[in-house]
């Protein structure tokens, strides 16, 4: 891996809001590249679990040579107080894909930080322009769609909203450089490129299982073997979290009217049953335990 000078890491002070799958993934990516991280969530129990998850994910990243060799890890601070993001140079919002929750968090964050602080939403589907209306300075806001797991997949999708400023685009480029990520920039739209394609695919794959056309293993096996999909759509669903997927599909369906984005009955049933994917130990596949499956 090409190393980035450690000095570049020290100019960034990152705050991540939301300690779920993506929040912990992004924290691992940053910590492993030497950036200090303040991780915010609503309760101490969630943050305790997140610390354990982050410890394991850092080991996972190291085992797979995904971190710069010999670079000291950044320091992790966890807090339930959103006001603790005040001193950050960048705040990344990684909360659930529910517009009202994002609106509340982004409004509070933007009122807390200084002008010019880079505001990133790790949005799955909510358009950046919609979120720009919720913050004090829309020019400071940009979407960055980190993949899962963020510390293993180098490419990210950057979404420039119509209000996103040039200085913000420069700042996000510097941050992603310090994190050794590659970026492709797209224009704003519900789901952008990746999830406008991926989420309906997952929904359709689940429908095929629901209709008895094939098992989850067979659907994934065909996509992997014939189309070169590395994980298969339904194992990908388990990694993302089926609950999060249903939220995102609803966002897409409400904003596009595309019937392919209306969550199918099987996905809804799995959410009702608490089978949210690897993080709960069961989704389309069974995992030994939530702890082992969580990623």
């Amino acid at each position: 891996m090409t190393d980035i000078p450690t000095e570049q890491a020290t100019v960034h002070r990152l705050a991540v809001v939301g300690a779920g799958v993506m929040g912990t993934n992004i924290a691992v990516l940053a910590l492993g590249h030497g950036l200090d991280v303040t991780l915010v969530d609503v309760d101490d129990e969630t943050l305790t679990a997140a610390r354990r998850t982050i410890r394991h994910k850092l080991k996972h990243a190291q085992l797979l040579d995904a971190l710069p060799a010999g670079r000291p890890h950044g320091a992790l601070t966890t807090t339930t107080s959103l006001s603790d993001v005040a001193g950050a140079t960048t705040v990344i919002e990684a909360v659930v894909e529910i517009a009202e929750v994002k609106r509340k968090v982004l409004a509070e964050v933007s009122a807390t930080v200084a002008p010019g602080t880079l505001l990133i939403s790790n949005t799955s589907c909510v358009p950046v322009d919609e979120m720009a209306a919720w913050v004090v300075r829309g020019e400071d806001l940009v979407g960055v769609h980190f993949m899962n797991p963020s510390y293993l997949i180098r490419m990210v999708e950057v979404i420039r909203g119509s209000a996103t400023g040039d200085a913000t685009m420069t700042a996000v480029g510097r941050l992603l450089g310090a994190l050794n990520r590659e970026a492709l920039v797209v224009n704003d739209a519900p789901g952008f490129v990746i999830n406008r394609l991926l989420h309906p695919l997952i929904n359709r794959a689940a429908m095929l299982v629901q209709d008895g056309v094939a098992s989850a293993e067979t659907v994934d096996g065909l996509l992997e073997g014939c189309l070169g999909h590395t994980t298969g759509p339904l194992r990908t669903a388990d990694l993302i979290g089926i609950d999060n997927l249903v939220d995102s599909l609803r966002v897409l369906h409400e904003r596009t009217g595309d019937p392919e984005c209306e969550p199918c009955d099987l996905m809804l049933q799995k959410v009702r049953d608490g089978h949210h994917g690897s993080k709960t130990g069961r989704g389309f596949y069974d995992y030994q335990s939530a702890t082992e499956g969580r990623i």
Partner: protein
């Protein structure tokens, strides 16, 4: 002891991956361990054998086969048992 850990790990891998590897089979090269499954394996070894895998031990060669993982686990357990105050 060696044989026990190797048997346990083989059974674990068979259950979790559907493949029953030979003790010296390269688990990465043969595709038994995927990049995503590697995390589950780290957690399993730490929880099941009460060891902590850190620093240079987090290297592919220590996870490359049932035999290599077994050797690492036993070394870490021996190191822990011989530590101060034990």
């Amino acid at each position: 002891m060696t044989e026990t850990v190797e048997k346990e790990l083989t059974a674990y891998l068979a259950e979790r991956t559907g493949c029953e590897p030979a003790a010296d089979q390269d688990l990465f090269a043969s595709g038994v361990i995927s990049s995503m499954f590697a995390l589950q394996l780290v957690v399993h070894l730490e929880d099941e054998y009460d060891v902590e895998i850190i620093g240079p031990d987090l290297a592919r060669e220590n996870f490359s086969s049932v035999r290599a993982m077994s050797a690492m686990v036993q070394r870490l357990r021996a190191d822990g048992a011989g530590g101060p105050g034990v």
